[in-house]
Amino acid sequence: MSPRDDDVLRMRAEVLALPLEEEASAGVPVLVFRLGQEKYGLGLRALTEVIDDWRLTPIPGAIREVVGAINVRGEIRAVLDLALLLDFPEPSTLDGEILLLRREAGPLGLLVGAVDGLEDVKKEDLRPLSSPHLAGVTEQGLRVLDSDALRDHPLLRGRIS
């Protein structure tokens, strides 16, 4: 069993240890951040951590979505611009924060704008949107991302080069 398998098992255990979702009543904790002009949210369970103090090393020749690499406690992680992954026309500026997306192949960084905080979002409050990336939008205009769809993005599926 590789350390990575260990990670996977540990993560699964953690997820399983979380209290069960009360049927659509308690809501799910969602991290709220800016992306372009909009407010976006991503389920906390899809993330391993938020990094606000980082030093990015650009990678020449990499695809446009890859903004660079950072050191996360001794591990080197690529960072991708979430705005570009979501097909925004404009890339993010380099003054935001980096979310570490939890994945089987190890965490990957997502560059976003400023992080506002946590919000509990109930499933029934989400109005569906046609976008493939979104689970829906709340009445207050918070666009909640579908973390499974995000992890299934061709650039996030995972491959060691």
């Binding site: 069993m1 050191n71 060691i160």
Partner: protein, 704 residues
């Protein structure tokens, strides 16, 4: 551990070493005629003899004695042992190995008195052996239990020597206490902050000034204390890291020691005569890799014994020696671990594999797979061509697992016929925490690493001395060869010109195979020994990127793959730009009585575009300072005439010079020197013994 157990353990490891020495010497039997090699072999045999008495292994004593006599006879006769004799000797060595292993494994002690007789016979007359005799001697007696479960080496558990753990514990304790010392810095800073707050309310100008003066002194004191604490923390952590690395590196023997006995036992249980050669067990490498590769290797070996190697009668019928050969070797290069399992058996039946592939739909009936595709098929699930499934292997799933394990380590596995004419598996995996020596270069405001293994030198050249050949800019190297010069930035697809300082260009010379190339960079940083790790990078693979490593400041440094530059296209327009038009080089005076140090520092600083004046002592330095203005002094402490501390004192008491920053270099980091220097107003101190040019340059940049 009982005393006896300890003695046995010592005897086993000692014997393993002796056996290896003897086996290695026998690779070239002629070496027995050379005095040095002969004495070494004799000493090994003799020591084994002595040791065997202590553990009560009479049989070892007998064999060792017989071997001694054989070596002696060969040495005296002046002719190396022939094929037959070598066969006997190897069998004796194998038996010795098995007997030693048997001490702790509850096996019957192998005995083969006929072998002893044969060995003795060799010494009595000319080394003439009746060729019919050996067939009667089936080497190891068959054993009740075939082979212990191969999976007993638990990969999740790592054995670390007790001493290493103890050391680690004490070192981490030290690291912790040193890091706790930095809490004091926090307190001191808090105090400073309060003092500052109080000062803000001060309205009296004189008292404000006085308060500010005091504050400046306090700040300086905190700075000094903190820099020492940070240093101590760094040292302690480095020691921890070194110990961890040591604990994780072991000899291959610690994992693969029982391979030889295992194979012979396996062979004996199938009535096959196997001559095993195991090489490179002394190789020190990563424990984790050895443990991970243990199972695949055992699998390959079992496959070889089960399907590759044949019984004596089959071998005889095929006109081959009855004894089969199986070899296993471990080697490491700078950053790879390589294991080879090779046999002289029947090899793969590629036609049968092809048929099976067609049957199972993996291959079209008319397809003509390439060599590479065939290799791939060998590893595919369910392609066992063994006529019968044995208990031990031939389940067909094995090879794909072997391949997957090797791939998961980022390695490769190859199959070929090998030198023995049977099957050879070559497993090649990258080492994961071996530090690679890197040259750090600056390029377009970024730092890149170039592996020193491919580095042929670094140099600088006046831009006017560059030439052109068929549209490609060329530079003439020290040995006269004209090689292409390319911009690193442009090769990586970055915009921007290469920076020159004083119309002089810095370049690194790369060598890949027989080809050389100059890579123009903005400047050199330093050397760094770092672990280069592959990184997950979404998108197409970048051929120039070998991986990433971490710099001292915690940022990620990308490491380049030199072969990319050699293979790359021409770079016809080498765009150059002089750094900062209004650049006035800062003047730095280097004071040291050692010419080597003066030259080295001068070279480092001049390479960065600084103007450097050198002095041999404090007196000479003061002489120069009389009529020359400099921006910084870097001085050794211990010098004849006037030492660094005196020089510092003289400078600080001089009205005109007192603002001039002075960096002290002390050879031993003697605390009292450092403290005195700081009191006298030194801007910084560096310890010479772990002199780091990057540290010096950083200080210089800061101070001028």
């Amino acid at each position: 551990m009982s005393l006896r157990a300890r003695i046995i353990a010592a005897f086993q490891s000692e014997t393993a070493e002796h056996l290896q020495v003897i086996r290695e010497a026998l690779e070239t039997p002629e070496s027995l005629l050379e005095e040095a090699s002969y004495l070494k072999v004799m000493r090994c045999a003799h020591t084994m003899k002595g040791g065997s008495r202590a553990v009560g292994l009479a049989v070892v004593e007998e064999y060792a004695h017989a071997l001694e006599s054989v070596f002696e006879a060969a040495h005296k006769s002046g002719s190396p042992p022939g094929e037959e004799a070598l066969g006997l000797i190897h069998r004796a060595l194998d038996l010795l190995e098995d007997a030693t292993a048997g001490l702790t494994e509850e096996r019957s002690t192998p005995d083969d008195s006929e072998l002893i007789e044969e060995l003795t016979a060799l010494t009595q007359s000319e080394p003439k052996v009746d060729s019919s005799a050996p067939t009667a001697l089936i080497s190891a007696p068959p054993r009740a239990e075939p082979v212990k479960s191969a999976g007993s080496k638990d990969l999740q558990v790592v054995r670390v020597p007790r001493a290493a753990l103890d050391r680690l514990l004490s070192l981490s304790g030290r690291a912790l206490s040193e890091s706790l010392m930095t809490q004091r810095t926090t307190q001191e800073l808090r105090q400073l902050s309060q003092n500052m707050e109080r000062l803000v309310a001060e309205s009296d100008l004189a008292r404000l000034q006085q308060g500010l003066r005091a504050l400046a002194d306090e700040t300086q004191a905190v700075l000094e204390a903190q820099s020492q604490r940070a240093w101590a923390v760094q040292l302690a952590n480095k020691a921890v890291q070194n110990t961890v690395n040591e604990a994780l590196v072991v000899q291959a023997r610690s994992v693969f020691s029982d391979l030889g006995p295992m194979v012979r036992e396996l062979g004996a249980s199938q009535e096959k005569l196997v001559e095993v050669r195991v090489r490179g067990l002394g190789t020190r490498t990563e424990r984790r890799l050895l443990q991970t590769l243990w199972e695949p290797v055992v699998h390959l070996i079992r496959n070889a014994v089960d399907h590759g190697l044949q019984r004596p009668q089959e071998r005889r019928a095929a006109g081959r020696p009855e004894r089969c050969r199986l070899e296993f070797s471990v080697t490491t290069s700078r950053d790879r671990l390589c294991m080879v399992v090779e046999d002289d058996g029947v090899g793969f039946d590629y036609e049968k594999i092809r048929q099976r592939a067609v049957e199972t739909g993996r291959l079209k009936a008319k397809a003509e797979p390439t060599q590479a595709q065939m290799q791939e098929l060998v590893f595919e699930v369910g392609l066992s061509t063994a006529e019968e499934l044995t208990e031990l292997s031939g389940r067909g799933i094995g090879l794909s697992v072997v391949r997957d394990v090797v791939h998961s380590l980022g390695g490769t596995i190859r199959i070929d016929t090998g030198e023995l004419g049977g099957t050879r598996f070559t497993l090649d995996v990258p080492l994961t925490f071996v530090a690679t020596s890197l040259l750090l270069v600056e390029c377009a405001d970024q730092v890149f690493g170039i592996p020193s293994g491919n580095l042929n030198g670094i140099n600088r050249v006046k831009t006017s001395e560059l030439s052109e050949l068929q549209g490609q800019r060329m530079v003439s190297l020290a040995d006269g060869e004209l090689v292409p010069i390319k911009s690193l930035a442009k090769t990586l697809g970055m915009a921007g010109a290469v920076q020159t300082v004083g119309q002089t260009l810095s370049y690194a010379i790369l060598r890949v195979g027989s080809r050389r190339l100059a890579l123009a960079v903005d400047g050199f940083r330093s050397h760094l020994d770092a672990v280069v790790r592959p990184m997950e990078l979404p998108g197409p693979r970048l051929s120039w990127l070998l991986g990433g490593c971490l710099l001292d400041d915690g940022s990620v440094c990308l490491v380049t793959n030199p072969s990319h530059f050699i293979a790359g296209s021409q770079d016809s327009d080498l765009e150059l730009a002089e750094a900062l038009e209004e650049f006035r080089p800062a003047k730095i005076m280097v004071v040291d009585d050692s010419m080597t140090t003066r030259l080295m520092q001068t070279a480092i600083l001049e390479g960065k575009g600084y103007e450097v004046l050198a002095a041999r002592s404090g007196v000479e330095a003061m002489d120069i300072l009389k009529d020359q203005t400099v921006d910084l002094v870097v001085s050794d402490i211990q010098m004849p005439e006037m030492g660094g501390l005196e020089l510092l004192e003289t400078i600080k008491s001089d009205e005109k010079l007192c603002k001039l920053p002075v960096v002290l270099l002390s050879s031993l980091g003697a605390r009292e020197d450092v403290e005195r220097g700081m009191k006298l107003g030194a801007a910084a101190y560096l310890v010479k013994q772990d002199f780091d040019q990057e540290e010096l340059l950083r200080l210089v940049r800061q101070l001028v």
